[in-house]
Every structure is written in C-alpha cells, then in structure tokens.
C-alpha cells in the first residue's frame, strides 16, 4: 500500500494519496521512551485508527501529530513537505483540528460561542475593528457564524445552541467538541477517544457523525479509541501500538488476525 495513487475501500470509497506521513518517530521524556521508531501514513479521505492497550503511547502519538510534542527523532511529513518543529496553533492553521480525551471546552460559554472559537484560525480582523464591531470584524463574524451554523445543523445541536456548555450532559459535550473541531474546516481531524464514557446510544450517534463527516466533507480522520467494536466498524486502516512500538498496521480484518495484536490484547503466557 505504498503507492501514492491510493486505494478503494470495501464500501467503495476512493481513498487518495498520502496526506501525512510519520517517519521513524521516537519520543522520549527523559529516560522514558513513549514512542519508539514508529512509521505510518494517513491518506486523504480515510478513517485511520490508532489502537492499543493503556499506556501504549496512543495519545502521545496524537500529540505529535497535533504539534503538541516535538518528536525526539524522526520526521513528520504533511501535504508533501517536511514539517519543521511547530507550535500547536501553527499546526492548526495548516488544517489539523482535534478533540480531547478530557473535554476541553469553555464551560461558562454557550455552545454557539464555543463552536465559534473553532473559527479563530480563520479570523484576522484588527483589534480596533473587533472592539467597535465595525467593518471587517463584522463581515467576518457574519461569514463565520454561517459556517458555524452549518456545523450546528450537521451535528443536530440546534436545540442547545444558546445553552452554556457546563449545563450539558457528557455525551453532548463530546459532540460540541467535535463541532468546534469541524468548524475549523480541517483537512485532518484528530479524535482522541471520541466515545470514551458514552452509553451505547451515544456511541451509535457519535459513530454516525464520524462517518457522516468523512462522507460529507471528505475530511480525513485519525482517531484513537478503546472500544474495539467501534474501531473495527469505523476505520479503513488501523495502527496497533503496544509499549510504544507499532505491532500491527492494516485493515481491520488483517489486524484482527494478527497474532501480536491478539497477544497484546488478550495477554500471553510467558512459559
């Protein structure tokens, strides 16, 4: 699968060339090796999952992609060029948006305002104009509000538009986070455990939204998830990590039958 032409998925979607490539990434915190020499690629239009047991280094990997961590060794290639060390906001400007494992919304602000913050990378009116709500700031906000409203409509959260986020149940907060990430119109959407702590119905809803986002906007999605059922159903290709190493990479079926993966998940007797 190293060709740049892409491939066609089982359900008939055309997957494009490489969007992001991780080359021999190693991440150390002092003496601790969180990620050890991992390489994989994310292709345009696919749903790519990273799975692994607790402490496998999944979230660290996501943080490398989002620019929160700079890898100790190795290179990140994005849209055909090597990415220099960057601040997270610079990565965001390049079209990478994310949600967080522990919800990171502004609790006192309304859903609408929270989602609007997702548009910050697209706003550049000056301070004076913003303060006076005049000229560029005004046109800009109107344009951005319309984009945000489309996301709100897409994720079916119209009824909580004006509700402060702090008053919402957990499952809805997760959806608002997704909305904020989507509002940034990302090329690559990173989801850190989007279904964690949800009940079955909420999981089903979220799965549908993830697929719809991919389908409707063609957004490339990279997600970390514990729920194996969800991962296998949603993703086109899966990277499996254990103790900071990559132990498997391929379609859900390939990964499911990989002996190393089975051992990592079910445990193996050392005799």
């Amino acid at each position: 699968m190293k060709d740049t032409e892409g491939y066609v998925t089982a359900d008939g979607r055309q997957i494009g060339g490489t969007l992001m490539e991780m080359k021999n990434i190693t991440l150390r915190f002092g003496g601790v090796v969180a990620i050890q020499d991992i390489s994989f690629d994310i292709r345009e239009g696919e749903v790519r999952a990273i799975i692994g047991p607790n402490g496998a280094g999944k979230s660290s990997m996501l943080n490398v992609i989002s620019g929160f961590y700079t890898p100790s060794e190795g290179e990140v290639w994005y849209k055909g060029s090597k990415r220099p060390p960057m601040k997270p906001f610079e990565v965001a400007r390049q079209g990478v948006a994310r949600t967080f494992q522990n919800i990171a919304l502004f609790e006192g602000m309304t859903v609408l305002d929270n989602v609007m913050t997702g548009r910050l990378t697209h706003m550049n009116a000056g301070l004076a104009s913003q303060a006076l709500w005049w000229g560029k700031a005004r046109t800009e906000e109107m344009e951005n509000r319309e984009k945000v409203e489309r996301v709100i409509d897409f994720l079916e959260i119209q009824n909580i538009r004006k509700t402060p986020v702090g008053r919402l149940p957990y499952g809805l907060k997760k959806r608002v986070e997704l909305a904020r990430a989507l509002a940034a119109e990302p090329s690559l959407l990173l989801l850190d455990e989007p279904m964690a702590g949800m009940n079955v119905e909420e999981k089903e809803d979220m799965s549908r939204f993830v697929l719809d986002v991919n389908d409707e906007f063609g957004t490339t999605i990279c997600l970390i998830e514990h729920d194996m059922g969800v991962v296998m159903d949603l993703s086109d290709r899966v990277v499996v990590m254990d103790y900071g190493k990559k132990i498997g990479d391929g379609t859900p079926d390939e990964v499911r039958n990989n002996q190393d993966v089975i051992d990592a998940y079910l445990g193996v007797s050392h005799d």
Partner: protein
C-alpha cells in the same frame, strides 16, 4: 375582509388561491422556517415561483393527472409546496406520518398506488427503499436533505432542488401544460387524501375535495376573523387533517404566514420567537407546559413564589370573566392589570403565548383546571370538535362562550343531529367524498343524504345550544331506570384529579353506579412522603385510611358536578373501593395504549363488583398477577368499601335513592 370573498367563484382550488394571494399579498410572508439559526422567509410571490418550479419538475418526471404523490417528513415549507405543486399538476397529495414504520407505509403506498414520493431525509428514503420492491407501481422518489444519500443509486432518486432546476430549465416546454392542468381543477377535484390512524382495522384513505377544504377554510376563517397578518406555528404532523386545514386551507384562504420550527427539539424556543397569533395544541401539550411552570415556580425564591401565587389566585377569580367581556369591578380590573405587568405578561412571553388571539385544543378531554389556568392568563383558548371526515370542523366555541365541558356550537355551515341512541351525526360542506377504494365503509359512515356518524355520543345543552360529548357511542348504556349511563364521562372527571390514575365506573343495567379506583403512586406517594406516612407497597398505600378519605373527597366533588347535569345525574358514584393492584396491560386489564377494558375487569373482579352492590363494608379477595418476568403470583387483600355522598336530584328520585 370583504375583498377576500369577492372572487370566490374563481377560487376553486388551492393553486387558484395561491395565484390570488400572489396578486393581493405578493410581498407578505407566506412561509418561514428557521434554518442555520435564522428565520428564512418566503413571500407569497416567492412561494409561487418555488411551487411552479417544482410543478414543472414533476411534469418533467412524468407525473400524470390523478397520480398519487406521497409526502413524508416533518413540517417544512418545501413539503407544503410539494402538496400544492402536486395539486397543480393534477396529482393528489397523500401526506403520511413520518414516524410510521416501513410496513405501515407499505400498506398506504400500496393502497393508493402512489407512483411518486417526496420525502424529507435519509431516514425516510431508507424506509421507502426497503418496501419499494413490493410496490410495483412505485417509480420515483424526491428527497430534501441530501445528507448521507450521496452514494445511493440515483436512477429513481432525485434531489428536490435538482427537480426544481430541471423544471425551471424546461419552463418553455411545460408551462402550457401546467397552466392547462391548473385550469382544469374545480370544486370536485380531489384536494388531498388523508389516512385515518385507524384504531380498528386498517387505515382508511379519506378523500377530501377542493369544495370540502375551501368551504371549510372559508367559514372557519371567518368564524375566528383570521387575517393576512396572522401567524401560525406548524408543528403537528402533516398527515393529520388539522395541520392540512390550518397550514394549507386557512393559510391559503386568509393569506397568513406558516412558520416551521428548526427541529422538533427546538419547538418551544421557536414558538417563543414567533409568538403565533393563532395556535393549536392537543391537551397533552398544555398539560406538560403547566406542569413545567409549576415545578419551576416551586424551585423559585420565596418572594417570587408569593407574588406568583397571589396574582394567579386573582387571575383564577376574574381572568376568565375579563376574557369573556363580563362585568368585573374596577378594582379587580386594576389589580388584574398589575398582575399582567408582574406575572401574566412575562409568563405568557416565556410560553410564546404573548400574541395568541385564537387558540384551540381538541382531540381529547382537557382538564378544567388546565383549561382555566390558560384562560385566566388572558389566553383565548377554546375547544373544537372535529374529525378527518368533516375536514376538521364539526363544532367550535365562539369567543365569549367558552367552557371546559362543552365543545361549542355547530361550526358555520354544519348541521348536527342526535340519534335515538345519543350518537352525534353531522352534515356539512366539509363532509368527505368517500373512503378511497372502500365503498362499504363509506356507506356505513355516510348515508345517502350526507349525514355522517361520528361514533361519539353526546347531546345539545338546552340552555346554551352547545354540544357536549359524553363518550364513545358503543360504551354508552342505560341504567335500570332507563337513565343514560356514560362511564367514561365520569371516569374522565375522576382522572382529572392527580391522585387518581384510573377509574372504572360500573352501572349498566344496575340501579346505581359504583367505581373502582387506582391511585397514582407518584402523586399519592409524594403526598405520603411530605406527610410522613410510611408505606411499604402500593397495596398498603392504597388501603391507607387517609388515602381513602382523600379519594372519597374527590368522588363526592365529582358527584356534585355530575348532579348538575340533568341527563347524567344518575351516574353519580354511590360506592367505591380502591383497588389493591394497579390495572396493567400485562394482566389484560388495559389495552397497550392504556385504555380500560371494562368487560374484562368486570369479569375478573366479579367478587369485588358484587361486594360493591351487596352493601358489605369490606371484601376479601385474591387476585392472580403476572410479574414482569412472566411468573404468576397471587395478591391477597381485604378491601374496604366506602359509601360516597350523592346529591339528590329532584327530577330523578330513583337515581338518588
């Protein structure tokens, strides 16, 4: 509104009314829908253009005159346009309930032989696709929201906007045909076909002609003085006749604006933003709103609560009288006005009722307290009685003559007749043409002279001329002395008390009435908690002397109210007991929709019924029950039977003993 009736000769179809509205109120809003957080609106002129484009698109797809077009989805302007576009090309719109499951839709689509369907979204598309292989005549489907449908097979599937685009592109080709088809529509053409929900057997397709709809819309609009600047919120199912009359019939006749909510969940917010001047809701909606207000007031600060209670009491005293234009002292009027400023105004605003000029409720009996609550706030809430077969209106309450226990006077143009057995018959210009492909049922319901049986028993109150509905005709019986026995009438009165969940009244062919009562565990349990009354089970609470005392009080109040009624005074409850178990569908005592199965209960608890009539002060009984896991068990109990005070009615000595 004299100018509205001038052209009535030419206005014999909905598309003709549309043309009139374009020329008379072209720039007034016809539709609004909240989308992307903003109320989008269409004037009558814009609406006509949209409908024309769709109608041309339908011609382009090959819609023939007389075809049926199913319309499935929540209230959206596009779907209302679809109905009118269908009529314009000589087809018949058939709106379906959007929450119907695929099999139910299959029956209807097969029965009418629909060739086309216009649906809202992927959910509905999926349902129709599931069944379309069994529908040999079905051809094309048009959908509104393309989300998730990108990869579907588009040979027989079309996006709404594309159909319109194609229609616009083919304007030159089809305009003459469209105009010819519109010109052919007359008073006898079918306006719409609506399927009745069908509590017994399969749904029936009620065919309503342009005459039915337009005549009804005309007279009911005049009855309530509906005008072009009225506003309604369209949120009730499009397949229901009421929505068709309000949102199409009356809206096209009067030219007022139909507002569609953003989503079902935002209904209450949208209601507040629109503040409709003409509003309809079933009693359930009013009940829920009232409960919410009361719960929130309980949670508010002591001062606010006091102010609320103080002014609400005043409103209850004088509000309805002020609304009915009766004489009220100047002091009370001033106090009411102060209350309006402090409580009623803000409350109505929060509910979205600030501008309601005419509000209707119908469908089932509404609790008098609920009804009076809204009226005391100055909301002109009225009742109407109607049926699909009548194009809704049979009777309605005129302003100033509103009561919770009647359904009003015959609507303009409607004649009412009460049969020997008490069943209500009506005849009007709104009476349906026929049940589609069902001549037998048509003949059973409508006689040669056009009288239609309602299936409800009722009578015309002599003092006021208002119709009062008592019960379903088949449940009404006679007592031993020949007096009318209407159990549901009494049961409904009892059930208005929050403490009473169910009531079963006996008395057919007997000399007096008795009742079984089921307490409402939530309400009574709440009361027990507040009064430190310990109980371990439903049975124990149901047998508590204080509970029996309370229930007895309720029954005596109901007796007093029933006694006021000259025809039904015999139905006062003489003796009652509180059942030791909740009536349950699992035990066959209720239907799955929680309707009492009178006969089965009477047989199952025969010992208890006998005890009610033989005068014994208590009765021992054993009852078999089915637990949720299917096991069976026995409940043993000794029930106390109490006598309730009855009011003696001079003219009916026998009933009162």
């Amino acid at each position: 509104m004299a100018h509205l009736t001038e052209g009535v000769e030419g206005l014999r179809s909905i598309p003709a009314l549309l043309a009139r509205n374009v020329s008379q109120f072209g720039s007034s809003p016809a539709y609004r829908e909240k989308e992307y957080g903003i109320w989008q609106s269409w004037t009558w002129a814009e609406t006509a253009k949209e409908i024309e484009a769709l109608a041309l698109g339908l011609l382009n797809l090959g819609v023939e005159e007389g075809d049926f077009i199913a319309i499935i989805g929540r209230n959206r302007p596009y779907l209302y346009w679809s109905m009118v576009a269908a009529q314009s090309v000589g087809a018949i719109p058939v709106p379906l309930y959007q929450d119907a499951v695929a099999e139910e839709m299959e029956y209807v689509l097969d029965h009418c032989g629909a060739r086309f369907a216009i649906v809202s979204d992927q959910e509905q598309v999926d349902k129709v696709i599931e069944i379309q292989d069994d529908l040999h005549q079905f051809e094309h489907m048009i959908y509104l929201d393309p989300r998730g449908l990108r990869k579907y097979d588009h040979r027989r599937l079309h996006e709404f906007s594309h159909v319109q685009d194609q229609g616009r592109a083919a304007r030159d080709e089809f305009t003459a045909e469209l105009e010819a088809r519109i010109a052919k529509l007359d008073y006898d053409s079918t306006c719409v076909m609506l399927y009745t929900s069908g509590t017994t057997g399969k749904p029936k397709g009620v065919v309503l002609s342009n005459r039915n709809i337009i005549e009804t819309a005309k007279s009911s609009s005049e009855f309530d003085h509906l005008k072009v600047d009225d506003e309604v919120l369209a949120y009730l199912p499009m397949a229901w006749v009421g929505d068709f009359i309000f949102s199409i019939g009356q809206a096209y006749w009067s030219g007022f604006c139909v507002n569609c909510p953003e989503s079902p969940e935002t209904m209450m917010t949208d209601l507040r933003e629109i503040a409709p001047s003409y509003y309809f809701a079933p009693p359930r909606v009013f009940e829920t709103q009232l409960t919410q207000i009361m719960i929130r007031m309980e949670d508010s600060g002591a001062f606010k609560k006091k102010v609320f209670d103080y002014f609400m009491e005043h409103a209850r005293k004088v509000g309805p009288s002020i609304l009915d234009g009766e004489s009220v002292s100047t002091f009370d009027r001033l106090k009411y006005r102060l209350g309006e400023m402090m409580v009623y105004g803000p409350l109505k605003n929060a509910l979205g009722f600030s501008k309601v000029r005419v509000g209707y409720t119908a469908g089932e009996a509404i609790g008098p307290e609920i009804f009076d609550f809204y009226r005391s706030l100055g909301i002109n809430l009225k009742q109407l009685y109607g049926q699909t077969e009548a194009s809704v209106f049979i009777t309605q309450q005129p302003d100033g003559e509103v009561r919770s226990d009647t359904v009003g006077v015959p609507s303009p143009g409607v004649e009412i007749r009460i049969a020997e057995n008490g069943e209500v018959f009506y005849r009007s210009p709104g009476v349906f043409v026929e049940y589609y492909k069902n001549a037998d049922s048509t003949a059973d319901t409508k006689d040669a002279e056009g009288w239609v049986a309602t299936g409800d028993a009722g009578f015309i109150e002599e003092s006021s001329g208002h119709l009062r509905i008592i019960d379903r005709a088949k449940d009404v019986g006679t007592m031993a002395d020949g007096a009318m026995f209407a159990p549901k009438y009494v049961e409904n009165k009892l059930k208005f008390y929050p403490n009473i969940l169910e009531a079963v009244v006996f008395g057919a062919e007997r000399d007096r009435c008795t009742a079984f009562i089921n307490i409402d565990l939530t309400a009574v349990g709440n009361w027990a908690e507040r009064n430190n009354i310990a109980y371990a089970s439903y049975q124990e609470l149901a047998g508590h002397p204080q509970v029996l005392e309370t229930i007895q009080g309720h029954i005596e109040e109901v007796n007093a109210s029933v006694a006021q009624d000259e025809m039904l005074s015999g139905c006062q409850v003489h003796r009652f007991l509180v059942l030791h178990k909740e009536l349950d569908a699992d035990d066959g005592e209720l239907t799955r929709t929680r309707k009492v199965r009178r006969k089965i209960i009477g047989e199952k608890f025969e010992d208890l019924v006998n005890a009610l009539y033989d005068g014994s002060p208590s009765v021992y009984t054993e009852t078999e029950v089915t637990y949720e896991d299917g096991r069976k068990g026995k409940i043993k109990a000794t029930l106390e039977i109490r006598d309730a005070k009855v009011v003696s009615v001079p003219s009916r000595q026998m009933a009162a003993e």
